[in-house]
Symmetry: C2
Subunit: 351 residues, 2 copies
Amino acid sequence: MNIAKLLVLTCAALGAAHCAAQASDGAFTPLQVPAKTLPVPADVSPELQKIIAAPRRPGWDVLWKTGEEWRAAANAQASRAVQTLPAMRERLHVTVQPSTMNGVRVYVVTPDVIPPEHRDKLLIHVHGGCYVLSPGEAGTSEAIMMAGLGHFKVISVDYRMPPEAYFPGALDDAMTVYSAALKTSNPKNVAVFGTSAGGALVLEMMLRAKQQGLRLPGAIAPGTPMSDVTKTGDSFYTNEMVDNVLVSRDGFCDAATLVYANGHDLKDPLLSPIYGDMHGFPPAILTTGTRDLLLSNTVRVHRKLRQAGVDAELEVYEGQSHAQYQFDDRVPETREAFGEITAFFDKHLGH
Amino acid sequence: MNIAKLLVLTCAALGAAHCAAQASDGAFTPLQVPAKTLPVPADVSPELQKIIAAPRRPGWDVLWKTGEEWRAAANAQASRAVQTLPAMRERLHVTVQPSTMNGVRVYVVTPDVIPPEHRDKLLIHVHGGCYVLSPGEAGTSEAIMMAGLGHFKVISVDYRMPPEAYFPGALDDAMTVYSAALKTSNPKNVAVFGTSAGGALVLEMMLRAKQQGLRLPGAIAPGTPMSDVTKTGDSFYTNEMVDNVLVSRDGFCDAATLVYANGHDLKDPLLSPIYGDMHGFPPAILTTGTRDLLLSNTVRVHRKLRQAGVDAELEVYEGQSHAQYQFDDRVPETREAFGEITAFFDKHLGH
């Protein structure tokens, strides 16, 4: 090793200006990353290890092009998924009743025990699934966890999805439910939460509520939100084929979103809320994982909220791919994540 | 595509129990990730883009084995690095004076203007560099940024490094300075901060202070701490060859840490503070980036602090590799990061 190599050995460690200059010499040359092997992390619970060790989601590269095709796939998936719900409701001591609010289908999710300080609180849940998956009762999984682990009453919105409705149908339905809830609940006592497309819908609802002059809720919990559907966000690249749920920016979720968008501009903040004005948003807790394909689009929302002066917290879970913090209520890290969200709601609701 | 593929298409999206069962079928098979090309992200500032676009640190795979070799490399690097400091001090309106406290070398870093509410506050800085790099004035870079951007008086510890001293020499020196500071400052008005090995030292100082029955400071800012030097942490794998600063868990920083440890058990919480008891720690703000090799070991500390009931905040910056938030004070994201740390100190010091 010669002295020149020695001299540059650690320029980067010091924040020295010549590092940036060196960078600009090779500016914007893409970084080539060799193939690698990822062991299952040893520093998470055994229950989470099983989820991380799962093979990439079968069908991650199936790119349906129509609402009808997506609905067939969603129905097949939902019919299996709902089979797991009775046992979870029993474990978590939660009951679920279908209903409607101003014509929008909802599920009312009620824990057997609601502590006194939660009796005037109401959570509104918007489920995930790339705007096309988890119709009907299949969309209540996260709401059951929140109700059971957090001991809150939850209204889960069974918003219309393709081919029943396209953009902005999901958002319209969620807003109808939110507006109806404000008729009986003080907005300070209401929180809105959801994951993935649900996390995006939470943010889109805040943008729409601002547009409409509605009062905003007391807190929100957008989990790993699909905040930018234009494929912008560094972890679309760094976590490609690392995330075993979404797998790729060119996978099923992107195809599904295109079907929902139905030709609408993907940069519209009501589809990519990262481009919206987040000033005045309520306190927000964001959740993601280190392997999440949407890690970047979660931390970008966190940063944008904080830049706007919003009280925003970020929780990042070791080794988790997209949305895995809400895959199974029996996983310790799932309980930890819902514990954080519950504590955040307890801190901010009612004030 | 057959119906079986359809049925499993999106099991993972729902948190359904059969997903975990499916995982256990192929349990703990490592994930093979193909080679990939990472563009420079478009969603960061042009100044940060240059830093992200820099080639991997030259010499990242140079593995010196002795303190003497590391000191030669460190001196060569330091002689270059200090050349950039006068301009930065001028830009940030900061003066730096060498001194000692109870025999330990320090630099007193003073901003030209200290607002009234900061005049009774004192920050203690422990620099990074894998326990072997950035001797002398070269270690003051981050302290200058904190003093200049945050308008605090800062004491930067020029702790002994190999071959002058080995574990726990750096920690001993940092504790000497902390103890001396408590003679003239109320601990509630003191914060301790540092990055990388400096971030680890911040955590190690809290563990040692608890052992010694010393009062803890009012706040800490461990930036991307080397909290686990046993190569445990998922981003050691996921961000291998993605992080252009540390590059690999088997690179120069690991080799340097082994020299500092000098045969001591790497799992000792005073070398791998993730294994320490963090109950009673002061409020903490942690900073990392999505490409950071130590992303996992930052979020693991964040989670462990929160599990211990500590008021801990996490800031993750888009596209940044290890410690890049403090590479250049002229980068907007650097100012954002030090702005967050300043706001955190302002919130927690003095109470």
